[in-house]
Symmetry: C2
DNA sequence: GTTTAATTCAAACATTTGTTTAATATTTGC
DNA sequence: GCAAATATTAAACAAATGTTTGAATTAAAC
């Protein structure tokens, strides 16, 4: 019962923080939208900042499992692994775009140290996994000797740029305001296709 | 005299908004850091939001001029134009990273409609310029038939990802906290080299 | 069914917020 | 050098902020 309510508050927090930012969202906004009393948030989480922490940790490592699954599959080549990673990242960023927007904002602001560190740690581990795959591809001479760090920057940066801002996306796609990128299947496939193409021609020695 | 002071306040605003966000920065913080009376900000700009507007417009079109210069140069090929654009963007994002961080944040939040529209319009025009160059390259059959919109997303996304967050960058580069990416020349050259490489192999038909 | 613990609530708390005021100081135009 | 406009200030304003309180309600334990 209590857990359900906590989860409900966290989900409302994701919604509001992603729209208005952490400082832009008041406890009263939050309580109203979650249909609970203002005092409940402090009762459950202790403080607004602790709610934020709980929110961040709520989904912190949910990408990792899939990344490790992909890495540990011995039947796939390096480029197939990267393809799978691209597909998974795009899918996750689109379905959980609000959560990722909050995380992204906090990463930029570097205000709340503890939260920032949590995000950094999660990201760092995921980076290492991708790094290892590209490194192996280079060693096996199926990949060119590229700048691995920036190759990852391009993958994540492209996905972030395409999914984080609705209006930015509308401009890019020359789409109207009614177009919902977060549920549009052809849009998702278009990012994936493009990004795979970029990474393939960037990495593969012969194509 | 008045203009100098206005400019000074705007520069302090860029500094603080980029660190703490718009809602996270109080007029009193701002006044203290700018060493002016709190009332001066409303005296000069009317309101906190108007200061924000003034700040956004302050440098709104400063990239455009160079973009048009690059386009209008009849002696360069399409790929040379793109190379010049990449160099310029990276340079500008690094030297004015605080301003760009503020703009980026506002683009994500979509809170203040008027400001958001200004940013969108500026960005949209710049996009059109780059779009036209790639389109011409495709027509002239020196470029592959790529997804133009997402190619621009990759360019801007890579630069954003590499320059917007200091800590994100530190992870990526495996550098310590003392490393200052915004002034490091070899870092700048490394982004440019990587991004040119990515775009070349993505676009050019024979290399 | 009573006692104990957990939950919910409206109200109050002390700060902080953006903004305005009205008095004072400074600069400008002549 | 004087009048009018501009700039600067400390103080006050009302509204909003995160948090706490203490009583009331509900659930759990025995």
């Amino acid at each position: 019962m209590a857990i359900d309510k906590k989860e409900h508050i966290i989900n409302v927090a994701i919604e509001l923080f992603s729209e208005k930012g952490f400082e832009g969202t008041s406890i009263r906004d939050l309580a109203a939208k979650a249909a609970v009393n203002v005092a409940m948030i402090n009762y459950y989480f202790g403080s607004k900042e602790n709610l934020f922490k709980a929110m961040v940790e709520y989904r912190a490592t949910y990408i990792r499992e899939r990344l490790e699954e992909i890495t540990n599959n011995t039947k796939t080549t390096e480029i197939e692994k990267l393809d799978a990673i691209i597909e998974h990242y795009v899918y996750r960023f689109l379905t959980h775009h609000k959560y990722h927007r909050v995380i992204h904002q906090e990463l930029l602001l570097e205000q709340r140290e503890e939260i920032h560190d949590t995000i950094i740690k999660v990201f760092s581990k995921n980076k290492d996994i991708i790094h290892a795959i590209i490194e192996k591809g280079i060693k096996r001479k199926v990949f060119k000797k590229v700048d691995i760090a920036f190759t990852i920057v391009t993958i994540i940066g492209t996905i972030n740029q395409a999914t984080l801002s609705r209006s930015m996306c509308s401009i890019m796609m020359d789409e109207g305001k009614d177009f919902d990128l977060y549920t549009d299947e052809t849009f998702r496939k278009r990012i994936v296709k493009h990004l795979k193409q970029v990474i393939h021609s960037h990495l593969l020695i012969e194509q």
